[in-house]
Structure formats: structure tokens, C-alpha cells
């Protein structure tokens, strides 16, 4: 973790406990997870007990306490996506990588997340790969999408 980046996030927010969630959001955006040493610094600068910072970090789903993979694959599990087959999507990925939602593959290539609704219900089921939304997904389409990313990565690796 680069301390200068955390300093930038904390700028103007010292000793302001009401800014805790906002700061953790920025940290999550910046580092893609909440590093423990960073949380200690946040606690100290805001004047909030470290255990309180940990409670908040644990409570909200937007925060991850472990590093994420290079690619983030999120499957929407909203009601509309559910009735159109989202559980099958989750199974496909979980089966393909042999990981559960919230986990990262051992090679740190993919992190699989489930989200309770992205509000794109009308075009579901929806999967989001690295901030790109994919509508009307099916297990087959998702399977191909993952394969394509793998292929891209290995081409990059060989180049």
C-alpha cells in the first residue's frame, strides 16, 4: 500500500469520524481492498477505535478485507435476474474456478462476487466483468466470456 495515496484520501478529513465510510470507499476504489495497516492509520487519524473501524469494514458489502484478483467478475442476484436464471451463472463460474462467491482464484486472476441487485433488472441476468456490464447472460455466454479473458491474459503474458 502506498502511504501517499492514503494521505491523499485522508486529506481534509482528519478527526472527522463521520467521514469513516466515505474514506473506506475511497480506499476500496484505490487499493481494491482494505489493507489492515491502512485501517490502523485511518483509525488513528480519525480518532475512532480500531475495533469500530473493523466493525464498519466488516458490516458493509462494498468492502473487501482481502486483496482481489486482476479481474473482478460480479454476478447480479437480484430477483429479476434470479427468475431468469442467475443462480446457474453463479454455478458456472464457481464450477469453472472451483471457488465460492467472495473468493479469489489461487493465481489471483479472478475474484468472484455476488451482488444483490445492480438495478439493471430489465436486461437480466447481468454479469459485470471489470466494470463492463453484460446483459441477457446465460451460462454458455459466460463460459465463453471467461475463456476469452483467459486467452487475452495468456497472450499478454506471452508477448
Amino acid at each position: 500500500m502506498e502511504l501517499s495515496k492514503l494521505d491523499a484520501i485522508l486529506e481534509g478529513k482528519q478527526s472527522r469520524p463521520d467521514q469513516l465510510i466515505e474514506i473506506l470507499q475511497d480506499m476500496q476504489d484505490q487499493f481494491h481492498y482494505l489493507p489492515e495497516d491502512g485501517l490502523r492509520i485511518v483509525a488513528e487519524r480519525l480518532g475512532v477505535p480500531p475495533i469500530e473501524v473493523m466493525r464498519v469494514a466488516n458490516f458493509y458489502k462494498a468492502f473487501s478485507l482481502t486483496p482481489r484478483g486482476r479481474h473482478l467478475l460480479t454476478i447480479c442476484m437480484g430477483t429479476a435476474c434470479h427468475v431468469r436464471g442467475a443462480p446457474k451463472l453463479l454455478d458456472t463460474v464457481a464450477g469453472h474456478f472451483n471457488i465460492s462467491p467472495g473468493d479469489t482464484t489461487p493465481d489471483r486472476a479472478f475474484t468472484l462476487e455476488r451482488v444483490n441487485c445492480l438495478g439493471c433488472c430489465a436486461i437480466g441476468p447481468v454479469a459485470v466483468l471489470d466494470d463492463v456490464y453484460h446483459d441477457h447472460m446465460s451460462p454458455g455466454k459466460l463460459h465463453k466470456l471467461i475463456k476469452a479473458v483467459h486467452k487475452q491474459d495468456s497472450e499478454k503474458g506471452n508477448a
Binding site: 466515505e22 430477483t79 427468475v83
Partner: protein
């Protein structure tokens, strides 16, 4: 940009902006909310920029990138004004032709027109499309008129007029009286009278006071708040400024969930622009009233949409509810009087001030006046956002607007109101969608999600889905919700796995009723609704799972099997290669088989098979 210091200056700015619009009436409107972007609208926008330039039309045609028009199923879509020609399901490659043919030669291109699935006919104009025709689009109708990132667009269509009128010529009591006469009720689900909330908050003695917009739309299956904030954020700002003036607040918050990045961005831009014009800040329009606001992002907790929990989250704390013996209008954010309303409620306010309370209360029923936006999704032909008066029958929404079920199956039920709502069976589709009628049927308007279910949807599986969601999202503070939902989920899971007993069915009902009576907050109190309504209307489905170990809809995995029909299988090996679990074996050109122990019932083989050889039974 010069600050606007009086209502007269605002009016003169508006006059100038309007003249500009009239001078250049040809406008290409591209819908580009989250749904549109997911389907490639940004590529279409880029293509229009390029082509207008290339074909010599830049400066002659206005390109307006707007929020969502509600017809998500047909995205990316574009409307060409002044004639409202509606083109849908566009790709960026289609754009050069649209520019050369429609914009230059004034020819309507059949290939991009919408085809009505019922009559099979092509429709040219937006207003003639059945999906739009049966709606009353008060809030959503503005989305196509404004680029959400340009405050000038909102001012041009009359934006901030209501605010100017209120700040300079109406006193707070008169505003409350007007809202009371309109009968406006909270659009976040509870349906509490807005005027009464404002009045109590205004009378609360402590200061400072706060106004808050609840855009933590956590209900799965609802996205109307996202659409309004993405597409017309200034309408929310205007409503909030009026509310703040009435209540006497100087600071406001928009609490929006982080899962809506575009809504966060557009609200931030809107606040920034309003500030630059002096519509937020000190001494707004020279009225002596000062008010400012900021956006706070939610961090992914369903319970944080509950008013007391939301205010805790605003303070940077754990978003857990507290007992409501003292209401948030008296002790809310920072223990000070705070008025929380939903996005739709706030954005309805300028309309009521501009058009009068009688105009609003003429729509809907006496107890539930006005229009409400519903998110129509699931197994229905036309999915999207639908705005109707609150006396509209469900069947109008499902069949006239929604076009009926996909693949001409039968609609079995519609789930209204998300995890707090319930499933309404087809025999009750004559019910109007007002607050009371839906509550009596065991559902509730909730945030307004409507998920359509057909014969291929298992109602027990739907109940299990909501319980799983609620168990995951329960904050755990009170025992009935934390442990009760856990036990309900266990029972329903047993049912879906075919290992439940009859006794468990009655225990499930009893548990549900107890949780509803004894939970701390509204979310716990309404949590059993999805189970209780499915038990009430679809008991035979539960019984089939329990008595016959059978899932009539063919959904519950432990009760179904995938096999390959050797007569139909050609041995093409497509399924074998696509199975992520390696459960299919077979030689080329010979019938394949599925190893049931390895099969996860994901359905990829069925989807991939071109010969319809995979059987689910």
C-alpha cells in the same frame, strides 16, 4: 457562468435557452442510462458525433445524451425530434445510415423501427408504442428532454420555477397546505403522508435541521430511483430545496447506493452546477434562504435504506436501525430533526407546486393519488420502467404495457414490492396498484419492483430466494429477524430439497407471523411476506414438493434430473465441450450420456444443444 440572483434573472436565462432550442429543433436523443450503456449506447453516441461531423450536420443537429427512457428491453434507442421517430436496438454501425437517410433525406427506416409483438406492426412514433401509450409519464417523461449533466437543459424546460416561486412568494405553511391537498404519500414504500412528515419536522424545536434523499434503493428488482437520479437529478435537487425551505434546513444529503456509479456521478455533477449558478449556497435567488447539500455513498447494506439505519450510516457508523419511539423527524442525523424522503417523493414536489395540488390528486385514487413508477421485469415481453396513476389495474400494466409473458406462456404471478412485498396470483390481476389494495392482498407497493413469473418459475424457489436475501442482509440486531429468518430459510430449503414434512409447513407459517409481529424495524416486520403470500396463494406447489417430492416448475435442483435423449442426440460433442463440470461423456457421432453425480444442473448443455436432446425431468 454568472450566478443567478433573482427569479427575474432565472426567467431571462430560461428565455434565452428556450430560444436556442427553438432555433435548432432537430435533435437526436440517445438514451444512455446504465441499461443503455450495458447494451452499447455509448458506442452509438460516439458514432453520432462522428457521423454528424462527417456528413456536415454538426451545428445543425443537436445530439442529446439522456438518462433512461424506461424501455430497457429495446436499448440502445434513439428518438429523433421534432417528429419523435423512435429507433431501437441500434448498433453503432447503423448510425451512418440513420444520419444520411433520416436526418438528411427525411426517410424513415423500417429496419430500426419497433415492432409491436402483439399486432406484428411497425411503429414509427414513440407515443404510438403500446408500452408508452398506456402510461402517464409525469416524472419519467422529462428524462428525454434533459441531458442530466447540463443544468441548462433542466432550466430550459422550466426547471427551478417551482423553487423560485416558493422561495420568493409562498410561505412554508402554504407549501405544506398545498402538498397536503395533493395527498402525496411517500414513494419509498411505506406511503406515509409527505405533508405530515414535513409539518412535524418543521415544528421540531431543535436546530439545525436536515433534509435527506433516500436513494439507497436496495430492493432487488427496483431501479426507478436510479433512473430518476441518473436521468433527471435536478428535479430531485429542486424538490429537496423546496422541502428544506419549508422545514428550515440548511444542509441536505443524497444517500445513494454505491452500486449505482452513474447515479452518484450525475448527482454530484448536478449539485456542482446548481452551486455554480447560485441555486445552492448562500441567499438563493436573493431570497435570504441558504441551503447546500452533498452526496453520500451507501456501502452495500440493504438495511441501511431504513430511516434510522440510514442516518447512522450518514454519521459514518454501522448502518443498523434503532427503535422508533422517537422519530427521525425529531431526532435523526446527529440527533437533530431530519426529514427523509425517497427520490420519487422529492422529484414529485416541483410538479405539484407548478401544476397545483388538484392536478396531482386528480390522478389515482382518493387515498393514493398521483402516479408511481414501477420496475416491470422478469418473464414479461416489454421490460422497463412504467409510470402509471395509482388506480391502474395490474392487468393493464402486465398485458397492455408489458405485452404479456415471454414465449406466450401464462403469467402465473407477479411479485410486487421486493423482499417486503408479496406474490400476487393471476386471479387477482384486476386489483388496482394503490397502497391499500396491495396491502390487503398481502403484498405492498414497497419500492415498486414488479417481477413477473410464469409457469417456469417455482414459487417455493422464489420464497427461498427472498429468505436467502433477507438472511444475508439482516443486520442481526434483533433476535426475531436474525434467528427467525434463519429457521424459515432452513425449512424452505428442506422443502426445495424434497426432505420436508407436513408439520414444517405449519411451523413455517407460525414463524412468519411471529417475526412479523416482533421484529425491530420495518424490514424484519415485512420479511415473511414473500413466504406468507406464496403459502396463501400457491400452497399446492409447496405440497407437491413435500408430498410428492416433485417441483412442478422444474426448477428445484434436487428434484430434477438432466438426461440426454439418445434418439435426438447426434453425438456432435458440443455439450461435452461446454460442460464446466466434465459430466458428459460419449464418442463422436454416438449418443452422449450425463453422469448424474457430476452434473450440477447448470443447464449449459441444454442451452448449447441444437437438437433439443437434453431433457429436464
Amino acid at each position: 457562468m454568472r450566478k443567478i440572483e433573482s427569479p427575474e434573472q432565472l426567467a431571462s436565462l430560461r428565455g434565452g435557452l428556450r430560444r436556442k432550442r427553438q432555433e435548432q429543433p432537430v435533435t437526436v436523443i440517445v438514451s444512455s442510462g446504465t441499461c443503455g450503456q450495458a447494451r452499447g449506447s455509448l458506442g452509438v453516441v460516439d458514432a453520432f458525433h462522428r457521423e454528424l461531423d462527417k456528413q456536415g450536420l454538426s451545428g445543425k443537429v443537436t445530439l442529446r445524451v439522456t438518462g433512461c427512457h424506461g424501455f430497457c428491453e429495446q436499448e440502445p434507442l434513439t428518438i429523433i425530434e421534432p417528429n419523435s421517430i423512435f429507433y431501437c436496438r441500434l448498433k453503432s454501425d447503423d448510425v451512418p445510415k440513420i444520419v444520411s437517410e433520416t436526418l438528411i433525406k427525411h426517410r424513415v427506416l423500417d429496419e430500426f423501427l419497433y415492432t409491436d409483438p402483439v399486432s406484428g406492426k411497425k411503429v414509427i412514433h414513440e407515443g404510438d408504442i403500446p408500452f408508452y401509450r398506456a402510461q402517464d409519464r409525469v416524472l419519467l417523461g422529462q428524462n428525454k428532454l434533459v441531458d442530466p449533466c447540463k443544468i441548462e437543459d433542466y432550466i430550459a424546460i422550466g426547471g427551478y420555477t417551482a423553487m423560485a416561486k416558493v422561495l420568493t412568494s409562498i410561505n412554508p405553511e402554504e407549501v405544506i397546505a398545498e402538498i397536503k391537498a395533493s395527498g402525496l404519500r411517500g414513494r419509498g414504500g411505506g406511503g406515509f403522508p409527505t405533508a405530515r412528515k414535513w409539518e412535524t419536522c418543521r415544528r421540531a424545536p431543535a436546530t439545525p435541521k436536515f433534509v435527506i434523499c433516500n436513494a439507497d434503493e436496495g430492493d432487488p428488482g427496483a431501479f426507478m430511483n436510479r433512473s430518476v437520479l441518473e436521468g433527471n437529478p435536478h428535479s430531485v435537487l429542486e424538490g429537496m430545496i423546496i422541502g428544506a425551505y419549508v422545514i428550515g434546513a440548511e444542509q441536505g444529503f443524497i444517500y445513494v447506493r454505491t452500486e449505482y456509479p452513474l447515479a452518484v456521478e450525475h448527482s454530484r455533477i448536478a449539485i456542482e452546477q446548481a452551486r455554480e449558478y447560485g441555486l445552492l449556497g448562500k441567499n438563493i435567488l436573493g431570497s435570504g434562504f441558504s441551503f447546500d447539500m452533498r452526496v453520500v455513498r451507501g456501502a452495500g447494506a440493504f438495511v441501511s435504506g431504513e430511516s434510522t439505519a440510514l442516518m447512522a450510516a450518514l454519521e459514518g457508523k454501522l448502518g443498523e436501525p434503532r427503535p422508533k419511539d422517537v422519530h427521525t423527524v425529531e431526532k435523526g442525523y446527529g440527533n437533530l430533526p431530519s426529514n427523509l424522503n425517497n427520490v420519487e417523493t422529492w422529484s414529485s414536489v416541483p410538479f405539484i407546486i407548478n401544476n397545483g395540488s388538484a392536478w396531482f390528486s386528480a390522478k389515482g385514487t382518493t387515498k393514493s393519488p398521483g402516479t408511481k413508477v414501477f420496475a416491470l421485469t422478469g418473464k414479461v415481453k416489454n421490460t422497463g420502467l412504467v409510470e402509471v396513476a395509482l388506480d391502474t389495474p395490474l392487468k393493464t400494466i402486465l398485458y397492455d404495457i408489458g405485452g404479456g409473458a415471454i414465449d406466450d406462456k401464462e403469467i402465473k404471478a407477479v411479485q410486487v414490492g421486493g423482499p417486503s412485498g408479496g406474490c400476487i396470483p393471476a386471479k387477482l390481476f384486476d386489483l388496482p396498484v394503490d397502497f391499500e389494495a396491495l396491502s390487503e392482498a398481502g403484498a405492498m407497493i414497497g419500492s415498486g419492483g414488479m417481477v413477473v413469473m410464469d409457469e417456469g418459475t417455482c414459487m417455493v424457489d422464489v420464497a427461498r430466494y427472498f429468505l436467502e436475501f433477507l438472511q444475508d442482509e439482516s443486520c442481526g440486531k434483533c433476535v426475531p429477524c436474525r434467528l427467525g429468518i434463519d429457521r424459515m430459510l432452513e425449512i424452505v430449503t428442506d422443502i426445495t430439497m424434497g426432505r420436508a414434512t407436513e408439520k414444517q409447513l405449519s411451523l413455517l407459517e407460525e414463524l412468519g407471523e411471529t417475526i412479523a409481529l416482533s421484529s425491530l424495524c420495518g424490514l424484519g416486520k415485512t420479511a415473511p411476506n414473500p413466504v406468507l403470500t406464496t403459502l396463501r396463494y400457491f400452497r399446492t406447489e409447496y405440497e407437491a414438493h413435500v408430498r410428492e417430492r416433485r417441483c412442478p416448475a422444474g426448477v428445484c435442483r434436487d428434484l430434477i434430473h438432466y438426461t440426454i435423449d439418445p434418439e435426438k442426440c447426434t453425438g456432435c460433442q458440443v455439450c461435452l465441450h461446454s460442460c464446466p463440470h466434465g459430466a458428459i461423456t460419449g464418442e463422436k457421432k454416438k449418443p452422449h450420456t450425463i453422469n448424474e453425480k457430476m452434473c450440477s444442473r447448470c443447464g449449459i448443455c441444454k442451452e448449447e444443444c441444437k437438437f433439443d436432446a437434453v431433457i429436464v425431468g
